[in-house]
């Protein structure tokens, strides 16, 4: 029966052998318990240090603790978009069959992290600045990143033909990745133009080493969470495509 996902490259190295869906499912299933354990562990450690065992900021007191939730979320939002861009590059240059699956899986996760960064940023801003939203450089950049994710998801859904959707999304991710530094630069430029005096980043305190530990722990936790969610969604997507392939084969065989 024709393998409708794709024939792995016969001369393939490690990555192409991984492209076999069944092998990927086995590997990811084996990896999953470790990743989940790491996620839980890192969250526990990070939250402990972040919410209890780290110093409070002189000005912001306890509200600075939101930083431990907000900043890693913003980092992961960027990392997720990088995943989209890398997946797009791999799809276009090497036509690796899993690249498209990875991109489709990562996009909503990235949008989720971005949204969380925005919400926690707002929650952080409220007690500090007295308002739920402030147009500072980082929050604005994260907001624009959110729209880039929405655009990626939208273009995926705009085409009936999956291959076309995958390639268009891949190019968009690369275009966005190239533009992202330019956008961030221009937003910071804009910010300095309009807020010359005040702090341009929401309460960016000098990072004390005791603050660095929970920050990195939480970042690690988010990264593992991202990996868990990504693998889960990829497995789901591959299973869905297998079902589709079976249906397609049945329809093809039934033709007179």
């Amino acid at each position: 029966m024709a393998d409708a996902i794709s024939a792995p490259n016969p001369s393939g190295g490690f990555w192409h052998r991984l492209a076999n869906p069944a092998r990927f499912q086995r590997l990811s299933a084996a990896l999953m318990p470790w990743l989940v354990a790491a996620t839980v562990g890192l969250f526990a450690a990070g939250l402990y240090y972040g919410l209890y065992a780290s110093p409070i900021d002189y000005q912001q007191k306890d509200t600075v603790r939101i930083m431990y939730v907000h900043v890693p979320a913003a980092w992961l939002a960027m990392a997720s978009y990088s995943t989209l861009a890398i997946a797009g590059f791999v799809l276009l240059v090497w036509r690796h069959p899993l690249a498209d699956v990875a991109g489709a899986a990562a996009a909503p996760i990235g949008a989720g992290f971005t949204f969380m960064a925005l919400v926690t940023g707002a929650v952080w801003g409220q007690p500090t600045w007295g308002t739920w939203w402030v147009w500072d450089a980082r929050l604005t950049s994260v907001l624009i990143l959110f729209f880039l994710f929405l655009g990626y998801i939208a273009i995926r859904n705009a085409f009936d033909e999956r291959e076309r959707a995958a390639k268009a999304a891949a190019i968009l991710a690369l275009v966005g990745a190239v533009n992202l530094p330019v956008i961030k630069f221009s937003v910071e430029w804009w910010n300095t133009l309009h807020q010359p005096a005040s702090i341009s980043r929401i309460g960016a305190p000098a990072i004390h080493p005791d603050m660095l530990r929970p920050l990195l722990l939480m970042a690690g936790a988010y990264l593992c969470l991202f990996a868990v969610l990504l693998l889960l969604r990829m497995r789901l997507e591959l299973a869905r495509r297998s079902v589709e392939a079976l249906q397609l084969a049945r329809a093809g065989a039934a033709q007179p």
Binding site: A2, A4, E163, A249
Partner: protein, 217 residues
């Protein structure tokens, strides 16, 4: 000089998750022709599009004068003319303006006589100044076919014609067949897909259905 000018090697194509055909082989010398047949949906159009270079092949390659057309497409594109299902007409321009643009884009030297001759060859000479939107379906098809005629190189070339005679009446078909014959006499190579009547003397018959995977029982 016996090396065939145009070679299709082991060509395979996949569309929408299905392998349409594989192992297609063809060799044509200057003046040769091939008639691509097969039932609807078999992959005739896809074959021509892969040969033209619009779709990357799943496997295999197309060689023009010994050169892989995907690796170095430049010389191929100068010699190859493709007429697909769509006519490629810009409705706001006149018949002559449409033809002139395509001729220029194909790299043909600016030669109003060549354009006039091409229009005459397909029977559209009197309509040269007409806006293209006023043409009938048959006239549009003929204008599309005038494109390769207008930008003919002197040392042959390849014409890829996808269902060229759709919507044409018998006299028009005869005109097209005459133009094709003249092209072949000058060393041109023609691949045409068709289910309608089209006479290509001495053409190789390429049935796409013969190159498909056996369907699973």
């Amino acid at each position: 000089m016996t090396a065939p000018a145009f070679v299709i090697e082991d060509l395979a194509c996949r569309r929408g998750g299905r392998v349409l055909f594989q192992g297609v082989e063809l060799e044509l010398a200057p003046g040769g022709a091939a008639l691509v047949v097969g039932r609807n949906g078999a992959g005739k159009s896809s074959l021509l599009r892969v040969v033209a270079g619009l779709i990357p092949p799943l496997a295999g390659r197309v060689l023009w004068r010994g050169v892989d057309t995907r690796r170095t497409p430049e010389s191929y594109r100068e010699a190859m003319r493709y007429v697909g299902h769509a006519d490629g007409l810009q409705t706001a321009l006149t018949v002559a303006e449409n033809l002139a643009y395509w001729a220029r884009l194909s790299g043909a030297p600016d030669d109003p006589d060549a354009l006039d001759r091409a229009l005459a060859a397909v029977g559209l000479a009197e309509l040269a100044a007409l806006p293209a939107r006023l043409l009938s379906a048959g006239q549009r098809r003929r204008l599309a076919l005038a494109r390769p005629i207008a930008s003919r190189a002197d040392d042959g070339g390849v014409w890829l014609l996808d269902e060229p005679t759709v919507a044409l009446d018998r006299p028009s078909i005869a005109l097209i067949e005459a133009a094709i014959a003249e092209f072949r006499a000058d060393g041109g190579i023609v691949l045409a897909s068709t289910n309608a009547p089209l006479t290509l003397p001495g053409a190789v018959r390429l049935d796409v259905s013969e190159f498909q995977l056996a369907t699973a029982g």
